[in-house]
């Protein structure tokens, strides 16, 4: 997300606001997906009781950290690929 600020010299305040908005949107989108995936994977659907038990809690905690790790790894790979492609195109030209 912070790579948005990477190349530009002096973003104007409007651009900054827009960038911050998109960032907030991305974060909330990520949160929603996280909730959806982790609930599906960790909480069984028989709803025997209304409280979370320890197994489910531990599962949710670990689900969040794995989700973040996946996020980081995917973004790293995408950045690497984009850089590689840009470098390849530059070389080809």
């Amino acid at each position: 997300m912070s790579f948005l600020f990477g190349g530009r010299p002096q973003p104007s305040s409007a651009e900054k606001i827009a960038a911050a908005e998109t960032e907030v949107e991305m974060v909330s989108d990520m949160f929603n997906r996280l909730v959806q995936s982790c609930t599906k994977k960790c909480i069984p659907t028989d709803y025997r009781e209304g409280d979370l038990n320890k197994g489910e809690s531990v599962c949710l905690d670990r689900c969040v950290s794995k989700f973040f790790e996946v996020n980081v790894k995917v973004s790293e790979k995408m950045q690497g690929e984009a850089a590689g492609r840009a470098g390849g195109m530059g070389m080809g030209m």
């Binding site: 009781e49 409280d51 979370l52 038990n53 320890k54 197994g55 809690s57 531990v58 905690d61 670990r62």
Partner: protein
């Protein structure tokens, strides 16, 4: 007619060549008809037994396969039993703003091998039970000798700094601290009960003891390079009150001072052999320190740091003010590991008897999960004295068993038993002899000492400071849980609190 031919068959062969040919032809004929025993009973005798060689092969392979299958089947049953014993804990509810109980697991590569066997051992024997009980855990891994000690000592020093002691070079905050800070601000509670340490193997156990003592008794800052400045003006943490004992410990370079402290510090029985070895290490440590100081200037700290305090100076080191009344209980887990082609029979035997190991480790892990602990004993078979340690108190999670006194093995003696034990009688701490049988199996490369080496926690005997040893506790399974496990194994009981399915 068929019956008359076999008696005739042995007669012709001695006759001659033609006779032999005729005889063998005659012999061949009845064999083609099948097993005479089956024929006698009137059963179809079309089937033959395989040849002798095949029979040998099939017998051997099927016995081996039989042993293997039986062992794995029993092992699965045993692990299921231990998992069923603890799985009711996973169904207990947890408030949303509380973190689950987090254990610390210490894994170290066994001598002569890599980290993977240790990880596999943990995954195969310990992890299923931790998962069944919904425990959370943190792993401290060590690839080489001394890494676990370094990491544990760093962790303890960091804990001391969090609790308020001031150091000259405070450790930089990392992401873990950040997460904890966020938790504190949002009001999330950490688990307030007993946590616990799981230590796999004798080598890790030795490093664990060393790291624990180094962290609590050592200084918060690294000892200074001796050539850079004078020994006595080493930076000591601001916590230690007026005693000057901190400076000799902070600078193990002053060998003369530590030599003078060791005769006075000879309370512990087995210290007589221990000071000799660390003092041999100290000149080597001095050589190592310039190297270490240089390497610390790199961005990544070295995996194995020289210890901030040497074992001979344990007794003279002051206790830090943030020292807790009781340290986290520990659970040593056996980790049998043997290498070498000549040991193949032993390894095959162990391969076929893994169920016993699974039972043992399952028991230890269940004890860790139930958080039932007792104090370590001070007497170990050398003297048949009754100097066992104080009352074993359990801090188990299940409130029902909080009134029971656990561990039928340790006799419940009076509280001042350990107070009288600090005499010159030849007693040893239980921690020193735990898992000691594993040392015989270590690969011989571990016993080789290279030139100019730092200290070798694996090769040196355990030095235990009394103050730390009395505060350590050990996880041990209570009697009623043990009986419950036996009943589960027989099938008379299931998961605690589960609905009975019709």
């Amino acid at each position: 007619m068929a019956e008359s031919q076999p008696p005739n068959a042995p007669a012709p062969p001695p006759a001659g060549d033609a006779g032999q040919a005729a005889g063998s032809a005659a012999k061949a004929a009845p064999k083609a008809e099948g097993n005479p025993a089956l024929r006698a009973m009137g059963l179809p005798s079309r089937f033959k037994l395989p040849s002798r060689n095949w029979m040998i092969f099939l017998t051997l392979s099927s016995t081996f396969a039989g042993f293997l299958i039986y062992d794995r089947y029993e092992k699965k049953k045993i692990q299921k039993k231990w998992c069923t014993l603890v799985s009711h804990i996973a169904d207990e509810s947890l408030p949303t703003s509380t973190m689950p109980r987090k254990l610390t697991v210490f894994l170290s590569a066994p001598p002569g091998d890599g980290l993977r066997p240790a990880r596999d051992h943990f995954n195969e024997y310990v992890k299923p039970i931790l998962v069944a009980a919904a425990m959370d855990w943190d792993v401290i891994e060590g690839r080489r000798e001394g890494e676990v000690r370094t990491k544990l000592a760093e962790k303890v020093r960091r804990l001391r700094q969090i609790r308020g002691e001031v150091a000259e070079n405070p450790t930089e905050p990392d992401s873990e601290l950040l997460v904890q800070a966020t938790r504190q601000t949002t009001g999330i509670q950490e688990w307030d009960g007993v946590k616990g340490d799981l230590v796999l193997g004798r080598h890790t156990w030795k490093e664990y003891l060393r790291g624990l003592q180094e962290g609590w008794l050592g200084p918060l800052d690294a000892p200074v390079v001796p050539t850079a400045e004078t020994a006595s003006s080493s930076p000591t943490p601001a916590d230690s009150p007026a005693t000057d004992d901190a400076s000799p410990t902070a600078a193990p370079t002053s060998t003369s001072e530590s030599e003078s402290t060791t005769p006075t510090a000879n309370d512990d029985a087995n210290k007589s052999e221990a000071p000799l070895e660390p003092q041999q290490e100290q000149p080597q440590q001095q050589d190592q320190q310039p190297e270490d100081a240089a390497s610390k200037s790199k961005t990544k700290p070295p995996a194995v740091l020289t210890p901030y305090i040497s074992p001979s100076s344990y007794a003279s080191a002051p206790l830090p003010p943030s020292f807790p009344a009781e340290l986290d209980p520990s659970g040593p887990i056996p980790f049998p590991h043997i290498l070498g082609i000549l040991n193949t029979p032993t390894r095959v035997y162990r391969f076929l008897t893994r169920r016993h190991l699974a039972d043992q480790i399952g028991r230890e892990t269940a004890a860790v999960v139930f958080a039932a602990s007792r104090a370590y004993k001070e007497d170990v078979p050398t003297s048949p004295s009754s100097e066992s340690s104080g009352p074993s108190s359990s801090s188990s999670e299940t409130s029902a068993s909080s009134d029971n006194s656990p561990s039928a093995s340790s006799p419940a003696t009076s509280t001042d038993a350990y107070a009288t034990a600090t005499t010159s009688s030849p007693y040893t701490w239980e921690q020193k002899s735990l898992l000691a049988h594993e040392e015989k199996e270590w690969h011989k490369s571990a016993h080789k000492r290279a030139e100019n080496e730092g200290e070798r926690p694996w090769l040196e005997s355990i030095v235990l400071d009394d103050r730390i040893a009395t505060r350590m506790r050990r996880f041990e399974l209570e009697q009623d849980q043990e009986q419950r496990a036996n009943r589960i194994a027989e099938g008379k009981e299931g998961v605690l609190g589960a609905e009975v399915s019709d």
